[in-house]
Amino acid sequence: MQNPTKTRVKLLMNEMTSSQHTSGAMRQQQDVQPEPTSAPVLRAEARNLDFWYGATHILKSVSMAVVDCKVTAIIGPSGCGKSTLLRCFNRMHDLYPGNRYSGEIQLYPEDRNLIEMDPGMVRLRIGMVFQKPNPFSKSIFENVAAGLRVRGVADKRILYERVEQALSGAALWDEVKDRLHDSAYGLSGGQQQRLCIARALAPQPDILLLDEPTSALDPIATAKIEDLLTVLRNTVTVIIVTHNMQQAARISDFTAYMHLGKLVEYGVTEKVFTTPQSPMTNDYITGRFG
């Protein structure tokens, strides 16, 4: 972006506060917030982030702030780099040789660049849900407990408590409470995806990354997961990549529009959808392109 990062964040904050003043009726979560006028707190912030797959330059100077306890949606045409950007946040690219980052993603409150942290440490704090449900070849219970065990939780009672909590949080508890020790592969695709959300939620990550979590699901399963994200709103910081613009409009607080590896537009969701600044964004959301 041309704007210096600081200005960008300030602008974002202004938009955020003004939207809270003006659009209270549109947002039910207004009543949950203790102080509607409080300035948003940042959880993470990409600054001039570039990324290469080998020699292919994909992300070009992306700057984007992630606001605490809000849902940030990333939209844009296929191949523009949405997944690539999302996977920078938990250093997923480090699993494959030849990938390279430059720039920074600051993690708050400690204000450290996560690109320079140990990837394992980053992933202990930032959870992820993938496009295709990918439960482990284990029981439902062990799937959810896996993230707790790796963080040293061994006490059976605590494990049960947290697993139940996470499954309830993912709106799956009632469907699986009598078959916790059955294989996760016995679940339907939509249930498997909610299981994966529960698995990611159980360790209470600072940020939850979702890469098109509903694209492999039917409308009913999609609606369930969207409901779930609406409930999570205000308790978990979420970044979600989606192809579905109605979905972005329905469930997100902020929306980023990407094009050819650049962040073209970023702001409060209603503003991006009603009065986009960039003609490219306008074309995309009105369906003339992409």
């Binding site: 699993l95 959870g127 993938f130 990918n134 896996a146 790796v150 592969y185």
Partner: protein, 317 residues
């Protein structure tokens, strides 16, 4: 159809279907049928050969079981077919066979699994390609060389550590056989582990798992039936292996599972009898077929279990 004039139908039969002439399509159908028959004949030949072997085994075992009751065959603990007072307790041979196979698996399972994890999860493609030829080399060593290695190198070496070890024993051939089946079990397990989708590993890493935790908690459970199948098929190879035991385990039929003593396995007995000149139709001659039948059934059982597990493992993810 009835409303269409016949001239149109005639024209139809000569027209092009998707740009291809009728004659071309007929020729294509003919060659498809020929190919299918040739392939069927190849498949049928292998099935017929198998059935033929089983038929001979069973046919030549029947006279044996007419003289030796099955209960004696399965419960007697002596095997002395050429003695005056002949005993036919096949468990004598089975016990030695299973002891050797058990020792082989005790070597091949940990080493094979470790090697498979290393190749599939740790080694980069370059290193993997560098290691594989060595495994193939290990697999290509003639079994007679393994046998002499067990008898003339490993046994004397083990005797310096274990004073009670006989010159012929089950321990040395068991250990050598473990090394012998290692390349097979390692490469089949590695295939099973590498066919676990990357997305499943990513799920583990995304939770903060270390590389080893991903291997142990994500990849192995997902590949478990494939890995189990690898070891069961490896076991069935160990059970059927002949040369190593014939050379290094001795030819004394001894009932028991003591690895420090020598004992004849089923295969060692068969090869010993086959090399001697047994009178056709004698009971000792027929006992070879009975022993062969038992060997066949044990191997078949392991292969069936392995086959079943392989099928299950395809359905996992």
């Amino acid at each position: 159809m009835s409303s269409i004039p016949s001239s149109v139908v005639d024209a139809d039969s000569e027209c092009l279907i998707g740009g291809a002439s009728e004659a071309f399509l007929r020729r294509r159908a003919f060659w498809n049928r020929v190919a299918a028959w040739l392939l069927f004949a190849a498949a049928a030949a292998s099935v017929l050969v198998t059935i033929g072997i089983v038929y001979v085994l069973i046919r030549d075992s029947i006279p044996f079981f007419e003289q030796v009751p099955l209960s004696e065959f399965l419960t007697d603990t002596q095997w002395t077919p050429v003695f005056k007072n002949a005993h036919f307790g096949v468990m004598t041979l089975v016990s030695a066979t299973l002891t050797v196979a058990g020792i082989a698996l005790a070597v091949a399972i940990p080493a094979g699994l470790g090697l498979a994890i290393f190749l599939s999860e740790y080694a980069n493609p370059k290193l993997r390609e560098a290691v594989k030829p060595f495994l193939e080399l290990l697999e290509g060593v003639p079994t007679v060389v393994y046998g002499f290695f067990a008898l003339l190198f490993l046994t004397p070496m083990l005797q310096t550590v274990i004073p009670g070890l006989s010159g012929f024993n089950l321990l040395a051939p068991g250990l050598v056989m473990g090394i012998m089946i290692l390349p097979y079990t390692a490469s089949v397990s590695e295939d099973a582990m590498r066919s676990v989708p990357m997305g499943l590993r990513e799920a583990g890493y995304a939770l903060g798992f270390s590389r080893f935790r991903v291997a142990a908690q994500v990849v192995i459970p997902a590949a478990l039936s494939g890995i189990t199948a690898a070891f069961i098929l490896g076991m069935s190879r160990a059970v059927g292996e002949t040369m190593v035991v014939a050379i290094a385990a001795g030819q004394n039929p001894n009932f028991g599972f003591n690895p420090l003593e020598g004992a004849a396995t089923i295969t060692a007995y068969i090869v010993q009898m086959a090399m001697g000149d047994l009178p056709h139709g004698s009971i000792a001659y027929q006992s070879v077929f009975a022993a062969g039948l038992v060997l066949f059934l044990i191997t078949l059982l392991f292969n069936l279990i392995g086959f079943y597990l392989r099928r299950r493992f395809r359905e996992v993810y």
